[in-house]
C-alpha cells in the first residue's frame, strides 16, 4: 500500500510538472496585450466569504430577504425566474400569510376559463414568479437582440474555470461558490475604465469580470441607495451584489442546507462503521500472514 501511495505521489508530481510547463509555455506564447485580451474574464472573480460555504454552511435568511428585494425591485425588470415558486419563499423565513400577500401583488395570466377566455388574476403561493416578457423573442427585442438569462439557475450556470492546481485545492476547501463569486464580481465590476486602445462595441459596457468578452449588453444595474433596506444593512452596490448573489444561490440550490446536513450524517456513519469494519478485518486476518 505504501508503495502504491508513493507511486501515486510520483505521478502527481510528473503531471504537475508537465502541466505547469505547458501553462507557462502558453503564457509565454501570447505576449500580454492589455488592449486586446484573448482570455476572459480579464480579472478573476473575487472570492467572498459566504454564510453558505463549507460543510456546515447555512443561508442567512436576512440576507436572502434583502436579496429577494433587490431581485424584485431591480433584476426582475428584465430577468425571469421561471423555476422558483412563491411557496418556496418560506425558506427565507416568511410566514404563509406573508407569502400569500406577496404572491397576490403579482398578476398571473391564466386560462382558459369556462368561457374559453384567457384572464388575469392575482398570484397564488403555488404560482412561479411571472416573467417580465411574454416570450423569449419579446425579451430579446427589448434588450438589444439578446434575451436576459433566466435567473433560477444562474448561480450554478456561471463559474470561471479555476485552472490547475487550484481545482485540486478546491476539493479540500469545498469551494463551490464559483457562481455567487462571479455574480458579485460582475455586479461590482462596472465603472472601471478600459485600458487605453481597447475597442468597446457600441451599446455594450466594459466589465473586466465578464466571462465571455470585454463587455456586455447589460448596463450597470445597481447604484448606491437604489434599494431601501429596513434592517440597517448598508445600502451600497457591494452589499446589494452580495445579497442578490446569495439569494440566487438559494434560488438555484434551495435544498443546500438539507444536503449538507444529510451529508454530515452520512459521512459520520461511514466513518464509525468503517472503523468498526476495519477492526473486524484486522481481527479476521490476524492469524493469516498476507
Amino acid at each position: 500500500m505504501k508503495k502504491i501511495l508513493t507511486s501515486l505521489a510520483l505521478i502527481g508530481l510528473v503531471a504537475a510538472g508537465t502541466g505547469a510547463a505547458g501553462t507557462s509555455a502558453i503564457a509565454a506564447e501570447e505576449a500580454h496585450n492589455a488592449a486586446a485580451p484573448t482570455h476572459f474574464p480579464i480579472d478573476e472573480p473575487k472570492e467572498m466569504s459566504w454564510s453558505f460555504s463549507g460543510p456546515f454552511g447555512t443561508y442567512d435568511k436576512g440576507q436572502l430577504q434583502r436579496g429577494l428585494k433587490v431581485y424584485k425591485e431591480v433584476c426582475s425588470a428584465c430577468h425571469s425566474m421561471n423555476l422558483v415558486a412563491f411557496r418556496t419563499l418560506s425558506d427565507l423565513g416568511y410566514s404563509d400569510a406573508q407569502i400569500k400577500s406577496l404572491a397576490a401583488t403579482y398578476t398571473i395570466h391564466d386560462g382558459p376559463n369556462d368561457a374559453g377566455d384567457m384572464f388575469d388574476r392575482p398570484g397564488k403561493p403555488s404560482d412561479h414568479f411571472p416573467a417580465p416578457f411574454a416570450n423569449e423573442e419579446a425579451a430579446a427585442a427589448s434588450n438589444g437582440g439578446a434575451a436576459p438569462p433566466d435567473m433560477s439557475l444562474l448561480a450554478k450556470a456561471r463559474g470561471v474555470e479555476r485552472g490547475f492546481p487550484q481545482f485540486v485545492f478546491d476539493i479540500f476547501t469545498q469551494y463551490d461558490a464559483g457562481g455567487p463569486d462571479y455574480i458579485h464580481s460582475l455586479l461590482t465590476g462596472y465603472d472601471q475604465t478600459p485600458p487605453a486602445g481597447m475597442v468597446i462595441p457600441e451599446g455594450t459596457h466594459y466589465n473586466p469580470y465578464f466571462m465571455s468578452g470585454v463587455s456586455l449588453k447589460m448596463p450597470k444595474p445597481l447604484s448606491d441607495g437604489q434599494v431601501t433596506y429596513d434592517d440597517g444593512a448598508p445600502q451600497t452596490v457591494d452589499q446589494y451584489a452580495r445579497d442578490v448573489s446569495a439569494f440566487l444561490t438559494w434560488a438555484a440550490e434551495p435544498h443546500m442546507e438539507d444536503r449538507k446536513k444529510t451529508g454530515f450524517r452520512v459521512l459520520f456513519f461511514l466513518l464509525v462503521f468503517g472503523a468498526l469494519v476495519y477492526m473486524t478485518k484486522r481481527r479476521v486476518w490476524a492469524d493469516v500472514a498476507h
Partner: protein, 433 residues
C-alpha cells in the same frame, strides 16, 4: 469454483429441498463463501466489489429518477429541475446518480490500471479481460447518453460533437449518424432514443458482469505476485477474508463518493449544463464529461491528413483505436512474467503511462490551440507507443527479477523482511470458513 469441488452441505430442510431442485444456495455458497481467493490480495482487488455496488446504486437511483423524468426536448430540462426542487429527496437521488456515474468511472479506471499493472489480462484470463473491456465500452455509451438527458447546453453540444464523429466514417458514416440521431440533427427523436438506450444498457452491463464473474470463477483471481495458486495454503476462503476486506474498501470508497455527492455535487459537472440546450448558441468550449477527456484529447490531437485519411477521420480512428488497444493487450504483452512487481522496466513505463493518461485528460479539458495541440500529439504518440512498442518489445528484452516459487513463499518472505508480524502463516489459513 466448479461443481466438482463443492463443499456445500445443506443443513436445514429447506436448504435440502432447494438443493435437490435448483441448487441456488449451493451456487451462492460456492461462489461467495467457500470460493478460494489468493491470500495476498491487496486493496486494489476490492474494486470489483466496489464496481458491483456502484452498478446497483446507479440502477436503483436511475429507476426512481426515470419515474419523474420526461424525455421531451421542451420538458426534459424542467423535469430535472422539478426533481431537484419538488420531488421528495429528488436532489439526493439526482446528485447520487450524476456523481455516481463519475465514481463508477473512477472505480473502473483504477480496476483497469490494476489489471495493467499486475498483468491480470494474461492467459488464462484473456476472455475475462475482454469481457471487462466490453463492460467498459457499454459504460461509456451509457454515461454519454445519460449526460444528454438533462438537456443542458453541454448535453446538446456534446451529443452534437460526438455523433458528428460517425459522419467521418467513409460511405456509411452519414447513414450511421442519422440512425443514431433519428434525423439530421440532435433533437426530440435523439433524446427519446438516448433515454430508451440509457435505460437498457445498464441491464446489458449487468448481463456482461455475470459473464465476467463467471469467467473469473473459472480461472480464479490473479494476485500481486502474478503466480498461480498452487496449493491450499496459497488461498483463503472468500468469506470471511475477502468479504470483510471488500467491505472496508467499499466503505472508504463510498466515503469519498459521499463527500462529493453531498458537498461538491457540481464539481465534476459543467456550469453550462445548467443552461437549457439552445441549438442556436454554441458554448465557448465544448467539453465532454471528465471521464472521456483523454479520448477527446486524442481525437483532437490529429490535426493533419495522412494520405487518403483526413484529419477528422484520423482523429476518430485514433480515438476508437485507443480503446481497441485495451482489447489486445493480452497478445501485445510478450512477457512471461505477469506482475509489474517483478518487472522493473515495465513498472517504470506503466507509471509513465498513467501520467500520460492523466496529462491527456487535462489536455482534453483545454482548448485545442497553441502548444496544447503539440502536447496532445506527443501524449497520444506515447499512448500508442506504450501498447504497440513498449509492451511487445519490453517482454522480449527485459530481465525480470527473481520470482518466488509460490504465493505462500512470497508472503512469508515479505513478512520476514517487514517488521513485527510473527510468521504464523504456516498454520493453514483454510481452517476458517
Amino acid at each position: 469454483m466448479s461443481e466438482g469441488h463443492s463443499t456445500y452441505t445443506p443443513k436445514t430442510g429447506i436448504e435440502r429441498w432447494f438443493d435437490a431442485r435448483m441448487p441456488l444456495p449451493r451456487l451462492i455458497y460456492d461462489s461467495f463463501v467457500a470460493y478460494p481467493v489468493p491470500r495476498n490480495l491487496n486493496y486494489m482487488w476490492t474494486f470489483g466489489g466496489i464496481l458491483s455496488i456502484m452498478l446497483v446504486s446507479q440502477i436503483l437511483t436511475g429507476i426512481v429518477l426515470a419515474m419523474h423524468y420526461t424525455s421531451d426536448t421542451t420538458l426534459a430540462f424542467d423535469s430535472v429541475e422539478k426533481i431537484m426542487r419538488d420531488v421528495n429527496s429528488g436532489w439526493l437521488l439526482r446528485y447520487l446518480h450524476s456523481n455516481g456515474a463519475s465514481f463508477f468511472f473512477v472505480a473502473v479506471y483504477i480496476h483497469i490500471f490494476r489489471g495493467l499493472f499486475y498483468g491480470s489480462y494474461k492467459a488464462p484470463r484473456e476472455l475475462l479481460w475482454i469481457l471487462g473491456c466490453i463492460i467498459y465500452l457499454l459504460m461509456m455509451a451509457t454515461g454519454f447518453m445519460g449526460y444528454v438527458l438533462p438537456w443542458g447546453q453541454m448535453s446538446f453540444w456534446g451529443a452534437t460533437v460526438i455523433t458528428g464523429f460517425f459522419s467521418a466514417i467513409p460511405l456509411v458514416g452519414n447513414w450511421i449518424q442519422q440512425l443514431l440521431l433519428g434525423g439530421f440533427a440532435v433533437d426530440d427523436p435523439t433524446l427519446n432514443r438516448f433515454f430508451a438506450l440509457h435505460y437498457l444498457l445498464p441491464f446489458m452491463i449487468a448481463g456482461v458482469v455475470v459473464l465476467h464473474i463467471w469467467a473469473l470463477h473459472v480461472v480464479g483471481q490473479s494476485n500481486p505476485t502474478g503466480i498461480e495458486v498452487k496449493s491450499k495454503t496459497d488461498t483463503v476462503a472468500f468469506t470471511p477474508y475477502a468479504t470483510i476486506k471488500d467491505a472496508f474498501g467499499m466503505i472508504v470508497f463510498l466515503f469519498i463518493f459521499a463527500y462529493f455527492a453531498f458537498y461538491l455535487p457540481n464539481y465534476l459537472g459543467h456550469p453550462d449544463n445548467y443552461t437549457v440546450a439552445n441549438p442556436l448558441k454554441t458554448p465557448a468550449h465544448i467539453v465532454p464529461v471528465w471521464y472521456f477527456l483523454p479520448f477527446y484529447a486524442i481525437l483532437r490531437a490529429i490535426t493533419f491528413n495522412v494520405g487518403p485519411i483526413n484529419s477528422k477521420l484520423g482523429g476518430v480512428l485514433c480515438m476508437f483505436g485507443a480503446i481497441a488497444m485495451l482489447f489486445l493487450v493480452a497478445w501485445l504483452d510478450t512477457s512471461k512474467v505477469r506482475s509489474a512487481v517483478y518487472r522493473p522496466w515495465y513498472k517504470l513505463f506503466f507509471w509513465l503511462f498513467v501520467a500520460d493518461a492523466i496529462l491527456l485528460g487535462w489536455l482534453g479539458s483545454q482548448p485545442a490551440e497553441g502548444s496544447y495541440v503539440f502536447m496532445a500529439q506527443m501524449a497520444t504518440l506515447f499512448y500508442f507507443a506504450f501498447f504497440l512498442v513498449i509492451m511487445p518489445v519490453l517482454g522480449l528484452i527485459e530481465t525480470p527479477r527473481r520470482l518466488p516459487n509460490s504465493i505462500t513463499e512470497a508472503v512469508l518472505e515479505k513478512n520476514k523482511g517487514g517488521s513485527g508480524h510473527p510468521a504464523v502463516a504456516a498454520a493453514a489459513p483454510q481452517t476458517k470458513g
